[in-house]
C-alpha cells in the first residue's frame, strides 16, 4: 500500500520573509525513499501548469514511513515573494506540497497559502 499523508499548516496567511511551518502526519505508512515538503510558486491556466519556484525543506524522513508519525517542517518564504493573483484565464499562487518520493506515483498532500 502507498503511504498517505496529511498536511497541517500552522498558518495559511503569511508575509514575504516569514517562515512557513507545519506538520506532515503519516496517516497510512508504507515504503518511501524520502519525505520532503516543498514551497511552490505555481502558474496555472485552463490547460497548462508550471512551478515557477520550488523551495525544499530538505528530507524529513528517509526510508519506510511509519504510520501515525508526525514530521515538523519550516521553510522560509523569499522576502520578495509575490502575492497570489487570479484572473478569469490564469492564476499565480503559492502552495505547500508534502511529497513522499516512492516507487510508482508519489504521494502528495497539498495546501495553498495566501501571501500578503
Amino acid at each position: 500500500m502507498s503511504p498517505r499523508l496529511i498536511l497541517e499548516l500552522d498558518r495559511h496567511e503569511v508575509a514575504p520573509g516569514d517562515e512557513v511551518t507545519g506538520t506532515v502526519v503519516v496517516a497510512h505508512g508504507g515504503r518511501s525513499r524520502r519525505l520532503e515538503v516543498f514551497l511552490l510558486l505555481r502558474e496555472r491556466t485552463a490547460e497548462f501548469e508550471h512551478d515557477a519556484l520550488r523551495i525544499g525543506s530538505g528530507p524529513l524522513a528517509e526510508g519506510a514511513l511509519e504510520e501515525g508519525r508526525s514530521h515538523r517542517f519550516s521553510i522560509r518564504l523569499p522576502p520578495d515573494a509575490p502575492p497570489q493573483v487570479a484572473t478569469p484565464n490564469a492564476e499565480v499562487y503559492w502552495e505547500v506540497d508534502a511529497r513522499s518520493d516512492q516507487l510508482g506515483p508519489d504521494a502528495h498532500a497539498r495546501q495553498r497559502i495566501a501571501v500578503s
Binding site: 502558474e43 491556466t45 497548462f48 509575490p82 484572473t87 484565464n89 499565480v92
Partner: protein
Amino acid sequence: MGWSAESRHLPPGRAPGPQSRRRTRGRRIASWIFGALGLFFVAAALAVFGGVTGESAFVVALGLGLLALAAGARRASWAREARHLRLSVDPVEPRRGERVAVRLDVTADPGAGADVDVGLVCSEMYDYVEVVHTSSGRSRTRSTKVVDAHAEWVPAQPVAGSQQFAFVVPRDAPYSYEGDCVSWAWRVSARQRVEMGRDPVRDVPVWVLP
C-alpha cells in the same frame, strides 16, 4: 493588442520570461521559413524565365508575398508607431494602488476631428491548446492568447502641445510577471484612432510591482 515591438514590452532592466522567449522564437522561425520560400520562388522564376514575364509574374508575386509575410512575422504586432505622439511616465515601476503621472507631447497637429487617447493597459498572455483541423486530421499545438486584463483610456486634446494625465494602478490588478504559461505586461499607451487601417500607437512599458 497594440504592442509595437517584440520583448520591448518590458522596461529597461527587465528580462523576458520563458513564455515571451518562446513566442519570439516562434516568430523568428516563421520569418525564416517564409523568407526562404519567398527568395526561392523569386529566384526560381527569374532563373527559369529570365525576368518578370507573363509566365513568371504570378510566381514572383507569390515570392514577394512570402517575403512580406516574413517581414511581418518579425514584428510583435501589426501596430503602426505614432511618431507624433511622445510619452513620459513617472514612475516606470509603480506599485499597485500607486498613482502614475503621464505627460503626452503631441509634436504635430493630428488634424481636425482626430481622436487621440491615452491609456494604462495590462496585457495578459496565457497559454492554451489550439486544435487545428487539416486535411490529414487534427493537430494540437501550444499557443498563446493575448487579452486585456486591465484597460483604462482617457481622451486627449487632438492638438499639438503637452498634456498631463494621471492613472492609479488598481490594487487588485495583476502585477507585472514574466512566466512560463502566463505573463502580465503593463504599458502606458497613446493612440490616434483612424477610421480605416491600424491605429498608430506609442507605448511606454512599465513594471508594476506587487
